[in-house]
C-alpha cells in the first residue's frame, strides 16, 4: 500500500506581478480590513459607517484638525526617512526611538542652558546638536557590527531603553523644573521654539513641514543620483559583491548609519522644539517602531514613506476623534489600527509569496 504523504504547506515565491494587479490587491486588503473592523464595531453595538465617517472628519474635517494631523505626520515621516536609509542597506535599524530621544536631549540642552543666544543662532544649533547626537548614538551599533559582527537588530533595540531612562533621570534630577512640585522638565523659552509658517490650505504649522518636504526630495536625489546612494544599494544587495567591487563596506555602513540616525535625531529636535516645547519621555512616542511599518508599506521609497506616514497620522488622529465622540476606549482604536495594519502587511506578504501544498510544490 502506498504511504500517503503528510499534509503540509509550503511557501512559494511569486514571480513578477503586474503593477495594476498589485495595487488592486492592496486596495482589497484595505477594504477587507475596514470590513473586519466594521464587524468588530458592529458587534460592540456601534455603526461602522458612522465611526469611519467620524474618523475621517476628525482627521481632516477642519483646518484645525488638519493641522494636528500634519503635526503628527512630520516626525513620523522624518523618522521613516531615517529608517529607510538604513533599511536600503539591509541594516535593520530599529533603534530610531532612541535616536529620536538622543536628538531631543541634545537639542533640549541648548534650549535650557544656551537660551541667551538669538533664535536665528539657537535653532540651527539645536538642529545640529540633534543630528549629531542622534547620529553618534546610531554609530555605536554600526561600529560594533562592522568590528565584531554583532546583531544590529538587538543592539539598536536595546540602546532605546538606555536613552529613555536617561530622559527620566534628567527629568527627575538635573533638569527638573524647580517651580513645580512634581518631577517635570521646564517649558522651553520662547526663543527656543520653532516658528510657524503657513502651509497651503491648512494654516500655520511649525517649520518642520518644510524640513520634512526638503528631506524627502534630498533623500530621493541622494539615493538615486549620487555615488554614495549607489554604494548603499550595492551593499544592501550583496555585501560580497560590494567588497569585490572594491567598495569600502565598513566606511559605507558607518556613514549610512550615521545619516540614518542623524535624520531621526533631527526628528527628535523638531518634536521638542515644535509641538512638545519641553523634553518629555514620550518624545519618540513609538514613532521609531511605527516608522518600520511605514517604510515597509512604502517599499523603501521616500515619496511613498511621506504618503504612508500621512495615512498613518490620519488613522491615528481619526482614532483619537472616535474615542472622544463615541467614548470608545483607547484599546479599541488600537485594535482597529492593528486590524488595518495586519491586513495591509499581510497583503504585501501574499504579493510576494503564495502557499501551496507540499505535493504540488514537489511536482
Amino acid at each position: 500500500m502506498p504511504k500517503r504523504p503528510p499534509l503540509s504547506f509550503h511557501l512559494v515565491q511569486r514571480g513578477e506581478i503586474p503593477r495594476l494587479y498589485a495595487w488592486g490587491y492592496r486596495l482589497l486588503a484595505v477594504l477587507f480590513a475596514l470590513m473586519t473592523g466594521g464587524v468588530f464595531l458592529a458587534a460592540l453595538g456601534y455603526s461602522p459607517l458612522n465611526i469611519y465617517g467620524t474618523m475621517l472628519k476628525g482627521a481632516l474635517g477642519s483646518p484645525g484638525m488638519q493641522r494636528e494631523t500634519i503635526k503628527l505626520t512630520i516626525p513620523l515621516a522624518l523618522t521613516s526617512l531615517g529608517v529607510l536609509l538604513a533599511f536600503r542597506m539591509r541594516f535593520w535599524n530599529i533603534g530610531a526611538e532612541g535616536q529620536i530621544a538622543a536628538g531631543a536631549i541634545a537639542a533640549s540642552y541648548f534650549a535650557y542652558f544656551q537660551a541667551h543666544l538669538p533664535t536665528a543662532v539657537l535653532l540651527p544649533l539645536m538642529a545640529l546638536a540633534g543630528i549629531l547626537a542622534g547620529g553618534l548614538w546610531g554609530l555605536i551599533p554600526a561600529w560594533f557590527k562592522t568590528r565584531f559582527g554583532t546583531n544590529e537588530t538587538l543592539f539598536t533595540l536595546m540602546l532605546n531603553y538606555i536613552v529613555m531612562n536617561l530622559i527620566t533621570f534628567l527629568r527627575e534630577g538635573p533638569w527638573r523644573d524647580p517651580a513645580g512640585g512634581f518631577a517635570a522638565t521646564p517649558r522651553f523659552p520662547k526663543g527656543a521654539r520653532l516658528p510657524e509658517l503657513p502651509l497651503p490650505f491648512v494654516g500655520n504649522v511649525h517649520i518642520g513641514w518644510i524640513v520634512t518636504l526638503a528631506m524627502v526630495l534630498l533623500l530621493f536625489l541622494y539615493m538615486r543620483y549620487t555615488k554614495q546612494g549607489y554604494e548603499i544599494a550595492v551593499v544592501g544587495e550583496n555585501e560580497r559583491t560590494a567588497r569585490y567591487a572594491g567598495m569600502p563596506v565598513r566606511k559605507i555602513v558607518l556613514r549610512t548609519m550615521f545619516l540614518s540616525a542623524g535624520i531621526c535625531g533631527l526628528a527628535g529636535m523638531l518634536q521638542v522644539a515644535g509641538p512638545d516645547r519641553q523634553l518629555t519621555d514620550a518624545v519618540a512616542g513609538g514613532r521609531g517602531f511605527a516608522a518600520v511599518s511605514v517604510v515597509w508599506l512604502a517599499r523603501l521609497s521616500p515619496f511613498g514613506s511621506l504618503a504612508v506616514a500621512f495615512l498613518f497620522s490620519v488613522m491615528q488622529k481619526g482614532c483619537s476623534m472616535m474615542q472622544t465622540e463615541y467614548r470608545i476606549p483607547a484599546s479599541m482604536s488600537d485594535i482597529l489600527q492593528g486590524i488595518i495594519l495586519f491586513c495591509v502587511l499581510g497583503a504585501e506578504f501574499f504579493l510576494q509569496y503564495r502557499i501551496s501544498r507540499r505535493k504540488e510544490a514537489l511536482a
Binding site: 512640585g181 512634581f182 518629555t280 514620550a282 472622544t324
Partner: protein, 380 residues
C-alpha cells in the same frame, strides 16, 4: 415766558440730570466692587459644550472619579451626552496640546484637565484662546483671565482614614504605597494620614515607599508586599489601583484605599478610603459658565463643601473607630481647627508649624509640603 426763565429752567434740569447720572454711576461702581462681573457672556443650555482631558480612562481610580464627577454634573444640569466631550488616556506631552485644541475646535466653552502635567500646556493654549475657559485640576497657576485651577482638601479625608488605620494596627507599623517623592499632593496626603494615625495612636509609625508612578498595578502590589514584610499590618495608598488592598487581603492584613470605596476589591481587608466627589466643583463651575458668572478664581473645596469624604466604614474597622472619626470630622467642619494646625514636627525632629498656628493653603498645595515629612514617617 421770558428767555431768561427758560434758561434757568434748562440749567436746573441739566444740573439735576448730572446729579442723577453721577449718583447712578456711583451706584453701579459700588455694585461692581462687591460683585465682579464675568468676562464671559451667558451660554444657553442647549449651546453648551464641556470638554475634559483625562490622564487615564473611566476605568481607573483617579480619572474614573473625575469621569463620574462630570457625568454627575451632566445629569444635574440636564446636559445631553454629546455636550460633554472626553479625551481619555492623554499623556503629558504634545498630545495634551493637540487634545485641548481639538476640544476648542469642537466648540467647548469650558475645558477641564485632570493631571498636574497638563498645567503648562493649558496655560499656553488658554493664552491663545481667550474666549474659552480652561480649568486645571491639581496645579497652582491662574492667569486671571480664562485659566484657573481646582482641587480639594483631600488631606482632611486622609486624616480621617488615618484614624481608622491607627485604631486598627496591632504592630504599630503602617505601610503607605505612595506615587511620587517631593510632591506636595503626595506628601500632604502622607502627613495628614500620619497625623490622623498619631491622633489615636501616638507611637505608631508610617513606612512610606515611593513607586514613581500614579498607576502601575504590578509595582503597586509588589510594593505593598514589601511593606507587609516589614511588619506593617495596615496598608494605605496614594496610587490608582486597588492592588495594595488586594495584597493586604492576601496577607490577612488590613488597608485604606484611595479614590473610590475599595471594599469590594478587598472585602476582608479594607477599612475605608479617602474619596472625591468631583461633581460638586464641576457643577459649580459649569453653572457659572451657563449664567455668565464664571470668574478666574481657584476652587479649593473640602469636607464642608462635600468635595472630599471617606467611604463608609467597613466591617473590618476596630471598635470605637466611628466615634473617633465623627469627633474629628466635627472639629474640621466647625472651621476652628484644621489638620495642619501646630505643633507639627518634621521627621528630623524640627518644629515646622508652631503651636496654635495653621499652615497656609500655599504651603499645603506647594511650598513647605513639597518636601515635608512629619515625625513618625519613615521612607523605606
Amino acid at each position: 415766558m421770558s428767555n431768561s426763565v427758560k434758561k434757568v429752567r434748562t440749567t436746573r434740569l441739566l444740573v439735576l440730570f448730572m446729579l442723577l447720572t453721577l449718583s447712578l454711576g456711583s451706584f453701579t461702581l459700588a455694585a461692581s466692587a462687591e460683585q465682579p462681573t464675568s468676562a464671559f457672556p451667558p451660554v444657553a443650555l442647549e449651546d453648551l459644550k464641556v470638554g475634559m482631558v483625562l490622564i487615564g480612562s473611566q476605568d481607573d481610580g483617579f480619572s474614573g472619579a473625575h469621569y463620574n464627577g462630570l457625568e454627575g454634573m451632566k445629569a444635574e444640569l440636564g446636559l445631553k451626552d454629546e455636550q460633554v466631550l472626553y479625551k481619555f488616556n492623554v499623556p503629558e506631552n504634545a498630545e495634551c496640546d493637540a487634545a485641548l485644541r481639538e476640544l476648542v475646535d469642537a466648540g467647548c466653552q469650558i475645558i477641564f484637565g485632570n493631571s498636574w502635567g497638563f498645567m503648562n500646556f493649558m496655560e499656553e493654549v488658554a493664552e491663545e484662546y481667550p474666549q474659552v475657559i480652561f480649568s486645571h485640576c491639581s496645579g497652582y497657576k491662574n492667569n486671571g483671565v480664562n485659566f484657573n485651577n481646582y482641587f480639594g482638601r483631600i488631606y482632611q479625608a486622609r486624616f480621617l482614614a488615618g484614624i481608622a488605620a491607627g485604631m486598627k494596627t496591632a504592630t504599630g507599623k503602617i505601610g503607605y504605597v505612595a506615587a511620587w517623592a517631593d510632591n506636595a499632593e503626595v506628601n500632604g496626603g502622607i502627613n495628614a494620614f500620619a497625623l490622623g494615625v498619631q491622633s489615636v495612636n501616638p507611637d505608631a509609625v508610617v513606612y512610606v515607599k515611593y513607586i514613581s508612578s500614579w498607576f502601575d498595578p504590578t509595582l503597586e502590589k509588589q510594593t505593598a508586599v514589601a511593606l507587609l514584610s516589614l511588619d506593617c499590618d495596615v496598608i494605605a495608598q496614594h496610587v490608582d489601583t486597588s492592588m495594595p488592598q488586594v495584597a493586604a487581603q492576601e496577607a490577612g492584613k488590613f488597608g485604606c484605599g484611595y479614590n473610590t470605596d475599595m471594599t469590594p476589591a478587598a472585602p476582608d481587608a479594607h477599612l475605608t478610603a479617602p474619596i472625591w466627589h468631583w461633581s460638586s466643583v464641576y457643577t459649580a463651575e459649569v453653572k457659572d459658565v451657563i449664567n455668565g458668572t464664571w470668574l478666574p478664581v481657584n476652587y479649593f473645596l473640602g469636607l464642608k463643601e462635600g468635595m472630599v469624604d471617606i467611604s463608609p466604614l467597613s466591617k473590618n474597622v476596630a471598635e470605637g473607630t466611628a466615634e473617633k472619626i465623627e469627633e474629628a470630622r466635627a472639629r474640621i467642619l466647625s472651621g476652628e481647627w484644621d489638620v495642619f494646625t501646630g505643633p507639627i514636627y518634621n521627621n528630623a525632629g524640627e518644629m515646622v508649624v508652631k503651636e496654635g498656628e495653621a499652615l497656609a493653603d500655599a504651603d499645603i498645595t506647594g511650598g513647605l509640603m513639597t518636601t515635608l515629612l512629619i515625625k513618625g514617617v519613615e521612607v523605606k
